[in-house]
Structures are given as structure tokens and as C-alpha cells.
Symmetry: C2
Subunit: 234 residues, 2 copies
DNA sequence: ACCTGAACACCGTTCAAGT
DNA sequence: ACCTGAACACCGTTCAAGT
């Protein structure tokens, strides 16, 4: 109907490339969830023999890795920023938005690294880590301290995203609070507190909560680490 | 070989029950990973027709929910403990150990809640939440504050587990540091810091890190919340 | 040398046929 | 009413056969 170039899926005979394959895979996951991403279905979406996809991804698993790589690459890290706290804050908010934009990819982001040793992971998923380490080292942290900061930061950030997405409901039409959360189904005897918290749950402001947590975490890390002898800054 | 009662899997003709089905499913996941948990394979493990499993779980998805429920039920919460910080600390360490004992289940714990609205989740997975809220309210927090504390705590805890399991390598035989982490494969130009941190990564002490983080988090939460008017304690 | 697609060994789930 | 298992509509991946 529309111009044949508007969507990769419709552009049946574009020359295949890893980029096109992964972009189409991401579209599919965003639109229909992880289960819809099969070799056969993706082949169909691209108007190609499913077998041809094995030129661009060794595996279905590699395809999944490729998708999370693609999403993580949308996350810019300015490692030269002299204000590491401001930069970490910005990255956190950007990652949060990315997660909200691609909720179906979050399980991948969180889960894929668990099945592959650090050094064998796709480079695209390791780059943000290296860049954040560089940011911190550039700001005067020792590499070991930078690792420590990274871990606290990353743990908090992923924890927050899991928290927020758990309470996020896809269909915003159904806005009757109790119905949305389905809390009315819980036995009142066993879950009095949870049921009573329905309004509080509905009012959850993820961005504010993230920001508040970051403030505490970053100042905590700063005070903890500034006691130690500083590296000479670049 | 051994007594036919020793392992469910060997005890071919035990009467089926939800408990037996889920326990066998967990064994299978622990031993061979999530992908090995199929209706057909589980039926085989139990010596039954795969279709008979649909009496105990509506779905494969329900089976997965059942497995995470089973693991979470191994987590005792003493909601009457007057020292909420000590109790949260203990729960955290217990959950960490549970995660290390069942690493293949962690993706389920982290991921399943993302696909089901709060109120439709299996009660077993909601009970720890309700119990922790009760613990906090019992200690004098308002319900809304309790929710806030729970979220910070839960986020931190799951973030930590994801962190630790990412660096955890299953096969401890292969103990040459660089090989274990596979870091030598990374291009030195692009990943100088990450490569240099191999020894630090190998020395990671999850329990100590968890404990340190908890100390900061809990005292932060306490000081933040004790400024507000306290509820009358039970 | 490259690409295609038939074939294999699996899946989850439905539902008709048996008891 | 309950249980069984054949059948359906899918999977990922291998590899022989074509070009």
C-alpha cells in the first residue's frame, strides 16, 4: 500500500544484510513478542527462505543476542564527560526509556548474559560496560573502584527496570485501577496489604523513583570512594 | 539401582500430583536447563503420557510459573521479626543462595513477572511480597512507605543476583582466569579496561558485595524514613 | 562456491475416539 | 466423566541436491 521503502518487512527484495535482518527481528519482537521471533517467521517477514538467515546469525540464540546488541547500541555513552554522576544519571534515564520502548526485549537484556561467559558475549553488549569504566577512570577512579561503582550502578539500574516493568501494564485503555492490576482477584485474608496498596501501585512514577534512587546511590558511592587516594585525572 | 523411592524420576509409577510434577520439572531444569523442560520430556521423566500433565498445569507457561513458585516457596520470611533490617538481610542472603543453587531458574524468577499482571500471578510468587510488607508495617512503617522500602530492596537484590550470576561460571574445573572469563578474546584496542580487570573479576565475592550494599541501602532507607511520623508499632 | 529446500527430529496443544 | 494418543500446525537445524 504505502511506499515499498517505508518498512523493511514490506520491502520484499531489498538485499539482505545483518543490519536489515536484526532490524526486522527487533520490529517483530516489539510487535508480537519474543515467541514470534522464529527463523521461519523472520524469513517470511523478509520474503526469503528461512535458511538464508543462517548467513547472518549462526543460531536462533545468536539472533537473540543480535537483537539485544541492537537495542544496547541505541544507548549513547559520552565517556569524555567530566561529570561522571551526571553522565551516569543520563545513561540511566536513557536505558529506562529504551526499556519502556522495547519491553519485549528486556527479558533478553537481562537473561542473555546469564548464559554466556563475559568474554564470549557479543561485543556490542560489552561496549557500554567498557565505556562506563572509561568514564569512571577518566573521572579519577582506579580501575578496581570503577568496577565496583559500575556493579552497584548496573545492579540498581536493572533492578529498577525489572521493578517498573513488572507494574507496567501494556493496555492503558483498561484504566480501572483494580482491574488493571488484577488485585481484586487476590484472597483478602492472605493479601490485605497488597490489595490495599492498589492506588499506590497505580501512581508509581518510575522516572522519579529512578532519579531518587540514583541520588542516594551516587552520593553514597562518591563519599565512600573519595576517602581513598585519587588517581591523577586526565 | 538405588531404592525406587529415592528420586521421583526413577519412581515410575508414583501417583501423579502437582507437587511431584513440579518437583520433577525443577530437577530437570536444574540438571539440563530451561530448554529441556518440555511437556514431552517431562512426561517421559515421570513415565507418563505427556498429555496427562495438562491436569496439573494448564500450559507450558503455567508449568514455568509453577517452577518459580516452587523455588520462591523455599524462601522463609519471618514477618514477626522485630528487627526488619536484620530480617531483610537474612532474606537477601537466602535468596542469593537459592539463586546459586538454581541458576537455571533465575531467568524465570526475573522474567515471568514481566508477562503477567500483578494480580494474576501465582499466589506463591506474591506471598514473599505480602510478607515483607507485613514485616515492615509491623516494624512501624506506613503501608506506602513499606512499598517504597520493598521496591528499593527488591530492585537492589535482583540487580545483585543478575550481576553475580553473570560472572558466575558453571564449570569450576577450567580455572585459568583469562580462559574462564574468555576475556583474552576481546580486542585489546577496544577493551583495554575490561581485559585488565580479569583478576578483579575473578576475585569477586558475591556474598560480601551483597552485604556491603545492604548496609548502605538499609541505613539509607532507615534515615530517610525515620524523619517521618511513625505509625504506632504492633 | 553458493544457495535452496527437502527431510529429520523435535515442539505445544487440540480433540476425536475410546473406556 | 475421564483418559489416551493420534493428528495438526508448528519449531530449529542438517545436509543432499541443485546451480
Amino acid at each position: 500500500m504505502a511506499s515499498p521503502k517505508s518498512a523493511p518487512a514490506a520491502d520484499r527484495k531489498a538485499r539482505l544484510s545483518r543490519e536489515l535482518v536484526l532490524a526486522t527481528a527487533l520490529e517483530l519482537v516489539d510487535a508480537e513478542g519474543l515467541d514470534a521471533l522464529t527463523m521461519r517467521r523472520l524469513g517470511q517477514e523478509l520474503g526469503r527462505d528461512p535458511m538464508s538467515l543462517y548467513r547472518y546469525a549462526e543460531n536462533r540464540a545468536a539472533l537473540l543476542d543480535g537483537v539485544s546488541e541492537l537495542v544496547l547500541n541505541e544507548l549513547p555513552v559520552h565517556e569524555e564527560d567530566p561529570d561522571w554522576k551526571a553522565q551516569l544519571r543520563q545513561i540511566a534515564h536513557n536505558l529506562r526509556l529504551l526499556a519502556l520502548q522495547h519491553p519485549n526485549v528486556v527479558p533478553l537484556l537481562v537473561t542473555r548474559p546469564l548464559s554466556t561467559p563475559l568474554g564470549l558475549r557479543p561485543l556490542g553488549t560489552l561496549r557500554p560496560l567498557e565505556q562506563i569504566l572509561a568514564l569512571l577512570v577518566g573521572a579519577g577512579f582506579s580501575p578496581a573502584d570503577a568496577l565496583h561503582v559500575y556493579r552497584a550502578y548496573y545492579g540498581f539500574l536493572y533492578g529498577h527496570i525489572l521493578n517498573e516493568l513488572q507494574e507496567f501494564v501494556v493496555d492503558p485503555e483498561e484504566n480501572e485501577v483494580l482491574l488493571r492490576l488484577g488485585l481484586h482477584r487476590l484472597p483478602a485474608k492472605e493479601f490485605p496489604l497488597l490489595r490495599a496498596l492498589a492506588p499506590a501501585l497505580a501512581e508509581y512514577d518510575g522516572s522519579a523513583e529512578l532519579d531518587q534512587g540514583l541520588t542516594i546511590l551516587l552520593s553514597g558511592l562518591e563519599s565512600q570512594l573519595s576517602l581513598q587516594p585519587a588517581h591523577s585525572p586526565a
